[in-house]
Each structure stands twice: as C-alpha cells, then as structure tokens.
C-alpha cells in the first residue's frame, strides 16, 4: 500500500498539475463552442503532446477529455446547441431554464452533477477496473445488437406522449445510418455515385444542423418580438438543499454512465439518453421533464461525465478504446511507447496510477473552473441576439468543416438545419433522430456480424448477457405501462367508492 501511495505521489509535480489545468481549460473552451467536440479537442491538441514526456502528455490529454465532455453542456444550456452529442439531452431542460433567466443556476447544476459523475466513475475505475473490464470484454456482436434494441426501446418509451412522433424521429436517424459504404461488404448504399456520401452522414454536422442551425432559424422569427430576458447570475452553486434532493438521481445516473461508458463502442450519448429517460419514467412528476427542472439537467450531465471514467476502463485494462476520444488517447500513448492492455498493471503500474490521479485532479479543476466561469458564460448570452446569432452560425460552419476537413459537411449541416427546423415545427423529436443515428449503425452491423459469425444461427442472440438485456428491455417497456394501468384502475375504484 505504501509503495502504491509513494508511486502515485512520484507522478505528481507542479508542472503536470498545471498541464491538467491547461487541458481542462482548453477542453471546456473547445467543448463549449458548438461544433467543436471533445473528440476534436483531443485530436487537435494531441499533436502538441507529442513533444512532451509521457507523464505530462497523459496529464494534459486527460484534462482535455474531462473538460471537453463537460464543456458541451454549456452551449446546450445557454443556446440549445449541444457542443457534443453527449449533451443533446441536457438541452431539453437546460435551455428552458436559461430562457427563464436561470442559465447560471442551470450551469451550476450541470457542473456539480458532472463532477459527481466524474468522481463516482473514477472510484469504479480504481476499485473495479480489471473486474469490469473482464465483463466488458465479453461484449461482442450479439450483445451490442441487444443493447441497440434496448436503446431504441428507450426512445419508444421516452416519447410515450406521442409514440409515433418519437419513433418517426428515430427511424429517420436509423435510415441516415444506412447511407454510405456498408461496413460488412463495402458496397456503397444510397450514395447516388457521390464520393462524399461514401463515408456516410457525419454525426457532427448533422448534430450542428439539427440543433444549431434550426435554432438560429427559429430565433429569426422571434428576434424582434422577444422581450429581453436578463440572466440572473447571483447564485451559481445550486445549494445543498437542491443537491440533497438530487442525490438519488446523481447516484443512479453515475452508475448508468460508468457501465455504459465501459462498454466499448456505446458511449456518452446513449448513457445520457438512458439516464434521462430512466429518471423520467421513475419520477413522480414525469410531465415536468422538459420544462426546465434540475433533475433533467443532473441526470444526463452526471451520466455523460461518468462515461469518462467508464471509457478509461477498457482502454487501460484491455487496450481497447471505449469511445472515439479514448481511441485517440490510445494512439497518443502509443507514440510515447506505452502499450496499454492487461499487462500494464504488472509492467508499468505507475502509468495506471497516474491516469487515476490525473482524472480525479481534472474533475476537481472542472468543478472549480465551471463554477467560476458560469457567471461569465451566462452574461455572454445577454449579448444582443443580432450579434450573437451570426457569430454562432459562423461557429457552426467552422465546426462542421473542422469535423472532417470536408466542405461537403457544411452542406450536410445546412440541410439538417432545415430538416431540424421543420421537425421542431411539427413536433418530431430531433434528439430521437440523433439517438437513432447512434443506434442504427450499432444495431445493423452487429446484427449482421453476429449472424455471419454464427453462420445464420439465431440462438446466438440468446446467450447469457443478451438474455439479461432482453429482460431489461421487456421490463422497461412493460413496467411503466402496467404501473399506469394499475394506477388508473385504482383511481377508478376509489372514484367508484366515493360515488357509492
């Protein structure tokens, strides 16, 4: 134990701690700009770490990762434009709050929840890394297919008020994933001979279009009539009373986030979506979700930051990236001659400890900077909309281009902007579309790969782990409905009794 502590301390120095801070600040800055994602922040800034020695590079990269995932929520709350796909759900309750002038409070809740999620996932990372990784390693095609089905059922469940509109959004999303080169055979689908469509529709430009551009178009029609809502910025820290109420939400969502984060290939958007909807369907007042309540921010934010610690688990213990960001970090480690994987715990445990320590430090910096900067961010949107909107549009254009270095993606952004505008007008859920896009590819590829692997035998979808998920899926669809039925029956009964 002493050896462990001393080796942890030996990795710390003033310089590396400063680098974590720099990383967190850069990550928040990049993450909060619509269109620039945590993945991009890590990708761009990775090249700066090539010249550093490995400890410093790890410190900075983890700082960027933590900051970037958190930063996405700021623009989601203030402008309804999620900085990253993980923050899509945050916009649902964050933006109504900021419209009421409570932007500062909303960022405060998001910051504290993110911190909580981050720290809980770190605890899981430290205590259960190898155990969780062993389970995560068992997840292959059939397991992922069932998870995707589970996710799609979450959409159906979430849009209980208008099942048809929710599913319509998801189906459009699923359809979009079929555009491009087929993963299994390499055959181009729905590309109409266009070279640009070969790689499919990018997630980032679609996201920016659906949320950013469509919101700008919306604002155009209200810009003159809207009464200016000054942001109240007196109180950023949510206060212990609010946090006390949220503690159940935070704990559940951290666990959801860590588990989903640990499954390679699932990631932030799914975690946030599942967390939001499980809170909504278990809530005593589900109808309030979406109107700007603290739970609606805490749930997705806590879950998406918990995926950071979760995603580090397979990266460290299996040498397999948990998501796009950890894939890049894995590459950066390789440049520094560090090979991650099961052997690292014996061969270079100090690398593992430094990952633990820097992730915790990064989370601490995140909450400090988040709370300090919230005031400033909230003030920022007091800027005249006629100045702010064109600036945001420019950020959207740059973000779309930067996501892939293709001009084509700017057109994709514009088209999705128009699509998003009309979807909003008729009430089809755009967040369901994004989730459909995430899950569509997951479902299709894994379904087909599983069948190729089993040579056409469907029994492969009923191995132990998929069976657990089938059970969860059925429970999730059936339980709230039966609860509703029982409730109405009870109330009918009591009414009858009253009448008698």
């Amino acid at each position: 134990m002493l050896a462990t502590i001393s080796s942890v301390l030996s990795t710390l120095s003033f310089g590396t701690i400063c680098l974590v801070l720099v990383g967190v600040v850069l990550g928040i800055a990049v993450g909060s700009i619509p269109g620039l994602t945590a993945t991009m922040a890590v990708a761009v800034l990775t090249s700066f770490t090539f010249g550093m020695e490995s400890g410093s590079a790890i410190a900075m990269l983890l700082g960027i990762f933590v900051g970037g995932v958190y930063g996405g929520s700021i623009s989601a709350i203030l402008m309804k434009i999620p900085g990253t796909s993980s923050a899509v759900m945050t916009a649902l309750d964050g933006y109504p709050m900021s419209c009421r002038g409570e932007g500062g409070k909303a960022i405060g809740i998001s910051t504290v929840s993110s911190f909580f999620g981050g720290i809980v996932s770190c605890i899981f990372l430290i205590l259960g890394c190898s155990a969780i990784a062993r389970i995560a390693a068992k997840f292959t095609y059939p397991e992922y297919f069932v998870i995707a089905v589970f996710g799609l059922c979450v959409i159906a469940n979430a849009s209980a008020d208008s099942l048809l509109k929710g599913l319509l959004g998801a189906i459009i999303g699923v359809f979009i994933t079929t555009i491009g080169m087929d993963n299994l055979t390499g055959i181009p689908r729905f590309t109409f001979g266009s070279q640009n469509l070969m790689s499919g529709i990018g997630m980032v430009p679609a996201l920016i279009g659906l949320f950013g551009v469509s919101e700008i178009m919306n604002q155009l029609f209200t810009i003159d009539s809207e009464k200016k809502q000054q942001q109240k910025i007196d109180r950023i820290f949510p206060g212990w009373e609010v946090l006390g109420k949220l503690k159940g939400v935070l704990l559940r969502c951290s666990i959801i986030g860590t588990i989903i984060g640990a499954l390679p290939g699932a990631g932030g958007p799914i975690a946030a979506f599942v967390a939001y909807n499980s809170e909504k369907s278990n809530s005593k007042h589900p109808e309030k979700f979406g109107t700007g309540i603290p739970e609606g921010i805490a749930a997705p934010e806590c879950a998406n930051n918990a995926t950071v610690g979760g995603a580090l688990i397979p990266m460290l213990a299996l040498g397999v990236p948990g998501d796009a960001v950890t894939a890049i970090i894995l590459g950066a480690f390789a440049i520094h001659g560090i090979r991650l994987g099961p052997m690292i715990f014996q061969e270079t445990p100090e690398v593992v400890y430094s990952v633990y320590v820097y992730t915790i430090i990064a989370n601490i910096f995140m909450i400090i900077i988040g709370l300090l900067a919230a005031r400033w961010f909230a003030k920022l949107i007091n800027t005249d909309k006629k100045i702010l909107m064109p600036l945001i549009l420019m950020a959207c254009v740059i973000g779309s281009y930067a996501s892939s270095n293709k001009v084509f993606d700017i057109y994709v952004m514009v088209i999705f902007g128009i699509l998003g505008f009309f979807m909003d007008k008729v009430g089809i859920s755009t967040s369901a579309l994004i989730l459909g896009q995430v899950l569509g590819a997951l479902a299709e590829t894994n379904f087909r790969s599983a069948l190729t692997m089993s040579q056409g035998n469907y029994a492969i979808f009923f191995r132990p782990i998929p069976c657990v998920f089938w059970a969860l899926t059925i429970a999730m669809v059936v339980v709230p409905k039966t609860r509703k039925v029982i409730k109405t029956r009870k109330s009918n009964k009591s009414k009858k009794e009253e009448a008698e």
């Binding site: 010249g51 440049i335 549009l393 420019m394 892939s404 001009v407 692997m453």
Partner: protein
C-alpha cells in the same frame, strides 16, 4: 416580414462566405503556386539553393492522412513529419480526411495543386479502389514519393486452442471440416480480408469469412472470447492480447519471418506460397515536378533513418522499409497486379 427576410439573406450570405472561405483553399494554393512558378522563372539566382534545385519548400506542407486520428497510419505520418519539420524548416500540417477506404482523402490530394505543398499518405488500398468500385482513383493519378513501412498479414489463434496449434494442423482441420471455422478480419475488402481469400485459395480450404470482426472490442478480443476461430490481421491490431498471451501468433504471411516475432514461422516454410502486405507510403498529385519529389524523398529518407522513427516502429512491432520514388512507383503497379485478380476470383470486384 420584409425586414426579417433581409436579415435571413444577410446571415445566409455570411454563411456562404464562410463556406467559400473553407473551400477556397485550393484557389489560394493555385495563386501561391503561380507565384512560386514566377519566382522560379525569375532569373534570380539567390533564390536557388546550392544544388541547383528550386526554393522548395517555402511554406507549410499539408499532409492528408486518409485515416482517422490515432490510427497506425496517422501516428506514422505524424512521427515522420515531426522529424521532417526540423529538417526542411517548414511546418507540416497533418489533416485527417477519413472514409471510402482511403479514397476520399486521396481524392482531395489528387484535386490539389501539383506543387508539392499538398501530399498524402497512401496505403495498399489504392490498388483495389477501382476494382471494388469505390472510386475512379488509381495509381495513375498519383506521383509516388516513397514507401516507409509495411505490416505483414498474420494468423492468430486463441490461447488453449485444442483443435490445432500450428498452421499445418489448422489447414488439415479446415480441410476435414470445410466451412466450419470462422476466420475474422478487419475492414471488408481490406488487405487482411484479401489475405484470407488468398491463403484459402493457395491452401485449398474453405472457411467462413467474418469481415469487420473488430466490432466494438477489436479483433484480438473477439478471438480471445472464442467468437471466431482464427483472426487475420497484423500484430499491432491485437497487441494487447498478444502481450498478455490471450491469443497466439501462429504464422506470418510474409516472405521472411517478421523482425519483432522471430519465432513465428512463415506460411512459406510450411509450403504455402502466400504473401500479403499492407504498405504505407507517401504520394503527391500527378504532375508534381521531379525536383520537388526529390526534395521530399530525401527528407523522408532522413526521417526514416531517424532514432524517433526507429523507436516508434520497434515499440509498435511493425516493420520499416525504404522504397524510393522509382521503386515505389513499381511497387504500386505490382500491388494492382497482385490484388485485383484475388478480388476478381472472389467475386468482390465490380
């Protein structure tokens, strides 16, 4: 309403200008190239270096990497260019343009000005783009600079496999149980997919090919879990499981044994003549001046000889090679001659 309309037009105009700003890159390059050409024509001897070549390079060089950040190709390009920056004294900007089995990035390079300020990393995939119907691009559209690295196709089985422990046993088993074994690999139509097809035709066996067997967790884990029976890839793709001993490297489809794994026999040693490589190199747009290519070739040679590169290659258990511009041009042709017939035979060619 009218006012609002004008506002919208204004913003739309701003957006279009932004797009133009992004897209105008090649236009700028054209202007710069013209300027360069004028400078070259000018009888100003000071601008020419001692060995008589032009003043190339005079500004940043863009390197298009047709694969994602953090991939093997990306890292190799970044290690090399970081050395070349010091050598040539100009910045190298690495841009990742993914998709279409490397064709999208290469197309962007091919569409750029042939002045040596835009080059791209190239992989063996180029040989198969046309045959697979992914793109019209071929080796005719590029000017080879050099080739720097290769990975050899490698066969892996899981630890504790009882049915076979080496290649001859594996082939024997596959012959006795045609179509039973699942052989997993990476991208459909990629080099390792091709390696399976070629080996099966050489050895006369029939197997169930599972492309994209990486799935979420990577090829090595899929094999270690027992979901596939054999994995065909290169060592670096499964390095974590190889290190931990969860999977075993039983045969290398290369002419000689791989440097990092001297104990692993080649298929040739067991009597099956099958070699498949994925080679990485650098190319420039067609028509790039010979002297510019020569400057780049020399700089790449210095970078390949550097300690940094050697260290990286050893740490990743991949392989170093050096083929200059002429040799690489030949090699690109050879690749087409080798792999297109395999695709045709397998019915994958368009």
């Amino acid at each position: 309403m009218k006012k609002r309309f004008f506002q919208f037009v204004g913003i739309a105009a701003a957006a279009v200008m932004m797009m133009a700003g992004c897209g105008n890159d090649s236009g700028e390059k054209a202007a710069a190239a013209e300027k360069d050409a004028q400078q070259k024509e000018a009888p100003d001897n000071d601008a020419q270096s001692e060995d008589g070549s032009s003043d190339y390079p005079g500004k940043k060089i863009e390197v298009i990497i047709p694969q994602g950040v953090g991939t093997g190709s990306d890292l190799i390009a970044r290690v090399l260019t970081s050395v070349m920056e010091k050598d040539l004294g100009v910045p190298f900007v690495c841009t990742n343009v993914e998709g279409g089995s490397t064709s999208i990035g290469l197309q962007q390079m091919a569409d750029s000005e042939a002045d040596g300020y835009t080059i791209a990393m190239n992989m063996t995939n180029l040989a198969t783009l046309q045959a697979l119907g992914y793109s019209e691009l071929s080796r005719e559209d590029v000017e080879a600079i050099c080739s720097v690295n290769f990975d050899g196709a490698s066969l892996f089985i899981k630890k504790g496999e009882e049915r076979f422990t080496n290649l001859p046993e594996l082939v024997e088993y596959a012959k006795a149980h045609p179509g039973e074994l699942s052989w997993g690999t990476g991208q459909a139509g990629g080099m390792w997919h091709m390696a399976i097809l070629k080996f099966c035709s050489v050895a006369g066996i029939e197997v169930n090919v599972v492309p994209n067997a990486g799935g979420g967790v990577g090829l090595g884990l899929t094999l270690a879990n027992g979901d596939i029976d054999v994995a065909v890839s290169c060592p670096v793709d499964c390095i974590a499981q190889l290190d931990s001993g969860d999977i075993e490297f039983i045969a290398s489809l290369t002419a000689e044994r791989q440097e990092s794994y001297p104990d692993v026999p080649t298929a040739k040693e067991s009597g099956w003549d099958c070699e498949v490589y994925s080679t990485r190199g650098f190319v420039a747009p067609k028509g790039t001046p010979k002297d510019v290519i020569a400057v780049l070739e020399k700089a790449f040679k210095n970078a390949v000889d550097s300690e940094e590169y050697k260290e990286y290659v050893t740490s990743q258990n991949t392989n170093m090679i050096w083929r200059g511009a002429d040799e690489y041009t030949e090699w690109l042709k050879e690749e087409v001659d080798t792999y297109v017939p395999i695709l045709e035979e397998a019915g994958l060619a368009k």
